[in-house]
Symmetry: C2
């Protein structure tokens, strides 16, 4: 049962926000869906967008300006929330922005108190495509995935682990090597426990060495991003892709930061990258 | 003294937020300024954007997607806050959204407790152009004005009262006849007192009968806007323009509401309207 929370006409199409009960996350989840005008939604390609730390489904749909391009290309946009929410959902004891609410990291947690609800990996890879197809009647046979920061990490691992499901991939300022940076270490320790063997299954730089795909990965990274050196380290992924033979275009955009001003500036290139790969 | 609060690269240009001490409003004011790339900012045309109730300088700069078009056209965008703010600024006793903070209505208040700080008319028409020209080195000889809802009202009256200063004008879902609708009556009663003669000087539908301009006014109005019938009433302005011989294009956009999804969908048309009129 998908409840429509809001519905706004936008560039001739419809931007909706749904709420639904997720069996995977044991609670209600929110979801932005943009349906472009003048095309058959049962055959249009679908792009999933995974947002970053602190975000909800709102950030992408209000700030990225992606609907304009999606309307032109006839592409459906799907933007889920970044974690489970609501009564009884565990959060970091200090309400830290980088763990718990707003910080699901797109993994299936195995540790207490997270394991029951923090199952964003299975939510995105299993439950969501089923909802899109069976309940909303969308074409999950042509799906791409993209995202920002923590969501860029999510997009990369979702693609590398499910290249047949998410056939095209791109990312803005992704956390490419969570096992090697503070944000990822903190989250993986909490959600997955101390054994780093479990971490590698959610680390794009580790995964690409075993699971390279036939897709061409597009990454945009702001050259003036305050998180570049400590948390993002795109060159670790670039080196792994080179070693593995994975096709990658990594663009360092001089002067751009980590904000949606950066995303808005280059989102059109990303939508066209997906449209081209899914056509 | 203009303090830079934030600075983000966006579509090759720079989106800044400034804070400055306003002599007109007796306190600090915030201001969004977008400087497009690859053009001389001392000669580029300038578009002022006036936001609506509850907004700050942030809404337009984060949600409208206007920087993309401004970058292409070589147009500077200036988005002030909608009221004075900060310590000691009077607010409505019940913190109502439609009076006081976030609801300056672009008038010079004459009544207590508003008269000292709520002087948004003079701030926009006098102090701001001087700052843009003298402090920021912008070209205030080529200026247009636009806005949304309460800010659409502001844009219309600013133009009609200062057609040489704001040479082009457009609006989204403007309050065209504040004297005749609940939002306007409440605000004008509070800021200007009971004598309705003072109100007429800030009412676009009244003003256009005396002060028609040689500009062509562009208005977009969502056909599914929840405020259309009670607060906006664009046909009152349309009738006055017809009587006065004022050139007006009023477009009712079927299905669109009062949100920034509506603004984002048509902002490009408005920027081109101003660029064409200011060229």
């Amino acid at each position: 049962m998908m409840e429509i929370i809001s519905e706004n006409l936008c560039f001739g199409g419809v931007q909706r926000v749904y709420s639904h009960e997720s069996r995977t996350c044991s609670g209600s989840m929110r979801l932005g869906v943009y349906l472009p005008p003048a095309c058959d939604h049962s055959t249009a390609p679908v792009l999933l967008w995974l947002s970053g730390l602190t975000c909800t489904e709102q950030n992408f749909i209000t700030k990225a300006g992606a609907q304009r391009v999606a309307a032109e290309l006839g592409m459906v946009l799907v933007a889920p929330d970044t974690s489970p929410r609501g009564d009884g959902t565990p959060d970091a004891p200090d309400e830290a922005y980088d763990l718990g609410l707003g910080a699901g990291f797109y993994v299936d947690a195995t540790e207490s108190p997270w394991a029951q609800r923090y199952r964003m990996y299975s939510y995105i890879a299993d439950e969501l495509p089923q909802i899109l197809s069976e309940t909303l009647g969308l074409n999950t046979k042509k799906m791409g995935i993209s995202g920002h920061s923590m969501g860029g990490h999510g997009a990369l691992i979702m693609h590398l682990k499910n290249p047949g499901l998410f056939q095209t991939v791109s990312a803005f300022a992704p956390i490419v090597a969570p096992m090697q940076v503070p944000w990822g270490k903190k989250a993986f320790q909490a959600y997955l426990g101390a054994d780093q063997k479990a971490w590698a299954d959610y680390d794009a730089t580790a995964l690409v060495m075993q699971n390279k795909s036939t897709a061409h990965i597009l990454i945009d990274q702001g050259g003036a991003d305050a998180f570049l050196e400590e948390q993002l380290k795109p060159h670790l992924f670039e080196a792994a892709c080179e070693k593995a033979g994975q096709a990658l275009t990594l663009r360092i955009q001089p002067g751009y930061d980590h904000s949606y001003y950066f995303i808005a500036s280059f989102i059109e290139d990303h939508l066209r990258h997906h449209a081209s790969g899914l056509s």
